[in-house]
Amino acid sequence: MSIASAEKSIGAITFDDVRVGQLIVAVAAAIALLRFQLPDFLVRPPDWLVWPFADWINFVFVFLKDDLGFIHVTRSIASVVEWFLDVTGNLLYGRNRWPRIGPLPWTTVAVTAAVIGYALNGWRLSLLCGGTFVWIALMGQWKWAMETLSVIVVAAPVSAILGVVLGIAAWRRKTVEKILNPLLNIAQSLPHFAYMIPVVVFIGVGPKAGAIVTMIFAMPPMIRMTLLGMKKVPPEIVESGKMCGSSSWQLLRHVRVPTARTEILLGVNQVIMQCLAMVVLASFIGMPGLGQKLLQLLQALKIGRSLEIGITIVLIAVMLDRCSKAWVVKQPKHFERGTPWHVRYRILVAWAALAVATFALSLLWPLADEIPRRHALTVSKEADLLVDWFVRLVDPLTQWLRGFLIRFVFIPMRDAYLWLPFISVLAFWAGLGWMVGKWRSALVCLGYFGLIAMSGWWDRAMITAYMITFSVFIAVALGLPLGIWASRSERRARFVLLVCDTAQTFPSFIYLIPVVMLFGVNDVAAIGAVITFALVPFTRYTIEGLKDTPPELVEASSMSGASAWQQLWKVRFPMALPTIAVGFNQTIMFSLFMVIIAAFIGTQDLGQEMQKALSSTDVGKGLVLGLCVAFMGLMADHLIIRWSDSRKKALGLE
C-alpha cells in the first residue's frame, strides 16, 4: 500500500494507466480485424489528410535560395571551404593548387602518423597508425585515401569548433538550449541522405559539398558533449576561479573550458567518427575517394577489390578512433627540473628527424615517394578466389535462406504491414504511449506517426517499418544470448565488448560488403546488413547491463541459495532491463540508418524514394522522407527512454 502511494507521488505509471493503454491496444486490434468493414478513409490515409509538405519545403528553399539570395552566402562559404580543401588536397595528393609543394611522400605521411600514435599512446598505437598508411600505400590506394582524409582534416576541426561554440552558446543562454534541443534530436535521427539534398541545392556536388555535408552532419554530438561538459564543471572549481578574480571571459577561457576537456574531447572523437562515416557516404553526391571507389566496386560486384578498400576504411576508422580516444585520457606529466629540451621534446625531435630522412629517401628512391599502381600489391585475385570458393561452399545454404526468407517471411510480413488499416496502427502506438506515459506520451506517439500518415508516404513507411521490425527482432534474438554468454565471465565480456566497440567505429557502408558477397544485391542482403549493424549496440548494452548489477545484490542472492540460472533471471536480468532497453533503442536507431543506406542495393522502402529524391535533388521530398524516418526513430526513442527511466527510478538505479 505504502509503496503504491509512494509511486503515485513521483508520478509513476499506475496499474490503471497500463489498463487504459491495453484497452487502446485492444481497440486497435479490433479495428484491424474489422478491416473489411471499414470505410476506405480509415484504411489508407485519404487524400485530404495528405498535406503537400514537400511543396511547402521546396517553396521555402526556393525563397531562401533565389529570392533572398541565400545561395550567394552559401557559395561564398563554400569557396572558403574549398580553399582549405585545396591546401590539404595539395599536401596530401598533389592537387595543383597553392601551396604547390605536395604531394608529400607517402613515407613522410606514414612516419608522421606513427609519431602521433606514439605520442598519444606508445608503441602499439604507433604501429597501428604507421601500419595503416603503409598498407594504403602498398595496396595502391594512396590517392583515394588521401582524397578522403583531406576532407576529414578540414571538416573535423571546423565541425568541432562550431560545435563547441554552439554548445557554449546553449550553455550560456537557456533559450538557445531550448531551441537547439529539439533540432538536435531531429538532426541526430535524420538519415544521412536527408542532409545531402539541401547541400546539393545550395552548394552543388563534389568535394566541397562532401566536406560541408560532413561538417553539418558531424556537429550535433559536439554540441551535446560541450553542453554536457560545461554543465558538469564542479561548482567549487568555478568558485575558485571567481575568487581568483577572473572576469567572465577569463572564467570561460581558463577555467570552464579546460575543466570540461574530457567531454569536449569525447565530442571530438565522435565528430571524427561521424566525419568518416559521412565522407564515405558522400560519394553519393560526387565526393571522390575511398567511398566512391567502394561504391563503384560494390555495384560492379568486384568483391575482392572492395574487400581491400573495406579493410582500408576499417583501418582508418580504428586508427582515428584509437587516437582520439587516447587523446581523451592523455594526462599531462611533468618533467624533472633541469631536463634538457631535446628530452622534453624528444618526440618532436624524432619526428623532425624522421620527416627529413623520409623526404631525403623519397628523392633518392621514387618508390618511397609514391607507389604507382603497377608496383602496388593486390590480393584481390586471391581474395576473389577465396570468396568465390566460400560463396560456392555456402551457396546451397544462402540460396535456400534467400528463397525461404523472401517467400515465407518478407513477402507475407510486408503484405501484412501494408494490409493493416492506418487508423489501427495509430491507435496501437497511442496505446503503447499511454502505457509508458499516460495521455502525454500517447499524444507524442500519435503526433509522430500521424505526421507520417499525413506525409503521403504511408506505404513506403510501412515497408521500412516491417524491415526494421524483422531486423530488430533477429538482432535481439541473436544479441541477447550472445550478451548473456559474454557476461558470464570477465574475459569473454571484455573481448566481446572490444569487438563491439571496434565494430561500432566502422562506417555503416562497410557492413554492406560481406552481405553483398553472400547474398548478392537484393532485400535479403539489405536486411542482413541491417541486422549485423544493429546487433552491435544491443549486444553491448546487454553485456553492460548484466555486468553492472550491484555486487551486493549478487552476493545477497548467492547467500539466499540462488542457482546461477535463478540469479540470472531473478536478479541480474530485471536489474539490467533498463540498460538493455537503452540498447534496444539504439538498435532501432541503427537499423533505421542502415535500412536507408542499404536502399541502394535494392529495397522498396523510404530509402529507395530517398535515393530518387537525391538524384533529382528534390529537397522537399528528401526532407519529408527523412523526417518520416526521423519520426519513427523519435517515437521509438520516446517510448523506450520513458519506460527505461521510470523503471530505473522504480529500481532505485538512479
Binding site: 568558485e239 575568487m243 581568483c244 578574480g245 581558463h254 575543466t259 611533468h334
Partner: protein, 343 residues
C-alpha cells in the same frame, strides 16, 4: 555602520532559496523560524546573521552540514548575493559593488580555500598558484617569482612542475592555500579546508595553518564542521544551526557558558581544561587576596594542572604576556574546570 577595526561586517544578512525570495523576505519578520519558512516553500540558508570579523582575527564558523555555514561564507565573499541585509568589506557595501569592482576587490584583497581544493587539473602547481596573478594581468616573470615564494611558504618547493593529480590530498590543499595567498590578500576565507583530508594529515595541516597565521596575521573566516578543529584554531567561534548563529564567542566562553542547549551538546564531551585559559577565569583583584608569583594568563587550565594541585593559595594572581597583573583565579573554580565540578 561598521566599527573601524572590523574587516568584514555582516548586518542582518539573509539568504533564502525559493521562487521569489526577495518578495517573500519583505513579507516576513525576523521572528520566523526555519520551519515556518520551509513550510512556505522556501529554504532559509542564512537567517538574520550579524557578525563582525576584526582585523587580524580568526573567526571560525562551526555548524553541521546543512546549517548554512558554506552559504554564509559565500555571501561574505559575494559568490552569491544576500537576499536581505548587507555585508561590508572594509567599509564598502558588497552589494553595491559593480562586477568590475568586485573582481578588483577579489584580485587585491580576498583569497579563498575550498574543501575539494578547486585546483585546475591541467595546470601545474606553479601555474595554479600563479593563476590569480595571471588573472590580474601580472607579467610572466613577476608571476613566477611570487608564485615560487608562496610555494616555498607552504613547503612545496621542488613540486612546482607537478600536476595536481600527481600530489596527495594534503599537498593539493597546500597548493590551494598557496594560490589563495598569492595576491597577498587581507581577508582569507577557508571553506572546510581540511575536511577532505584524513585525520593525521588534518592535524598536521592545522599546525601548518597556525604557523602561517602567526606569520601573516590575516583576517580569517574559517568554516568547519569539526568542533575540535574550531576550538584549536579560533579566536572566536560562531556556531550555526538552521541558518542562524546560535552563539558567537571565544572558545573559552563557549565551553564555560554555552548559550543554548544546542551549543551545550557540542561542549559536553570537550575537555574544558584544554580550552579554558587562565586569563578568562581571572577576576578583578581585591586589596588583600592575591599575593605571590603570578601565573601566565595565556596558559590553559590543563597546562597549569600540576601547579593548581600543589598550590596552597586559594586565590592565584594572573599576569598577561607583558607581566602585568590582570586579576586572580580562584583555585577551586579552576579545579572545577579541570575535573568537571558540580554544575
Amino acid at each position: 555602520m561598521q566599527s573601524p577595526e572590523s574587516a568584514i561586517s555582516c548586518r542582518q544578512a539573509w539568504k533564502l532559496f525559493g521562487s521569489d525570495p526577495r518578495k517573500y523576505l519583505a513579507s516576513i519578520s525576523s521572528q520566523h523560524t526555519y520551519t515556518d519558512i520551509s513550510g512556505d516553500g522556501y529554504i532559509a540558508a542564512v537567517r538574520d546573521v550579524s557578525l563582525d570579523i576584526n582585523q587580524g582575527e580568526m573567526l571560525v564558523i562551526m555548524g553541521l552540514s546543512g546549517s548554512g555555514k558554506s552559504t554564509l561564507v559565500r555571501c561574505l565573499s559575494r559568490l552569491i548575493d544576500v537576499t536581505g541585509g548587507s555585508v561590508f568589506v572594509e567599509g564598502q557595501d558588497l552589494a553595491e559593488l559593480s562586477e568590475r569592482d568586485l573582481i578588483e576587490l577579489r584580485r587585491s584583497k580576498m583569497g579563498m580555500v575550498f574543501q575539494s581544493f578547486g585546483l585546475l587539473p591541467y595546470r601545474t602547481v606553479l601555474e595554479n598558484v600563479a593563476f590569480p596573478l595571471e588573472m590580474r594581468g601580472q607579467d610572466r616573470h613577476a608571476r613566477r617569482e611570487r608564485a615560487m615564494e608562496v610555494i616555498k611558504l607552504v613547503g612545496l618547493d621542488g613540486r612546482e612542475d607537478y600536476f595536481p593529480r600527481e600530489l596527495s590530498g594534503g599537498q593539493q590543499q597546500r597548493v590551494g592555500i598557496a594560490r589563495s595567498l598569492a595576491i597577498e590578500p587581507d581577508i582569507w576565507f577557508l571553506d572546510e579546508p581540511f575536511s577532505a583530508l584524513d585525520p593525521l594529515i588534518r592535524r598536521e595541516m592545522q599546525d601548518e595553518f597556525l604557523r602561517l597565521q602567526e606569520m601573516l596575521a590575516k583576517s580569517i573566516v574559517f568554516i568547519t564542521h569539526d568542533f575540535d578543529e574550531a576550538l584549536r584554531l579560533a579566536d572566536r567561534i560562531a556556531i550555526m544551526k538552521d541558518g542562524a548563529v546560535e552563539q558567537c564567542d571565544t572558545p573559552d566562553k563557549i565551553v564555560l557558558s554555552p548559550a543554548t542547549e544546542y551549543v551545550a551538546k557540542f561542549t559536553e564531551d570537550v575537555d574544558k581544561a584544554r580550552v579554558v585559559h587562565a586569563r578568562v577565569l581571572a577576576m578583578p583583584i581585591g586589596e588583600d587576596d592575591a599575593t605571590g608569583a603570578p601565573v601566565d594568563g595565556d596558559r590553559t587550565v590543563r597546562e597549569l594542572a600540576r601547579q593548581l594541585l600543589e598550590e596552597t593559595r586559594e586565590k592565584i594572581p594572573v599576569a598577561d604576556r607583558h607581566g602585568e597583573l590582570i586579576g586572580a583565579i580562584r583555585r577551586s573554580e579552576a579545579l572545577n574546570v579541570l575535573f568537571g565540578g558540580e554544575k
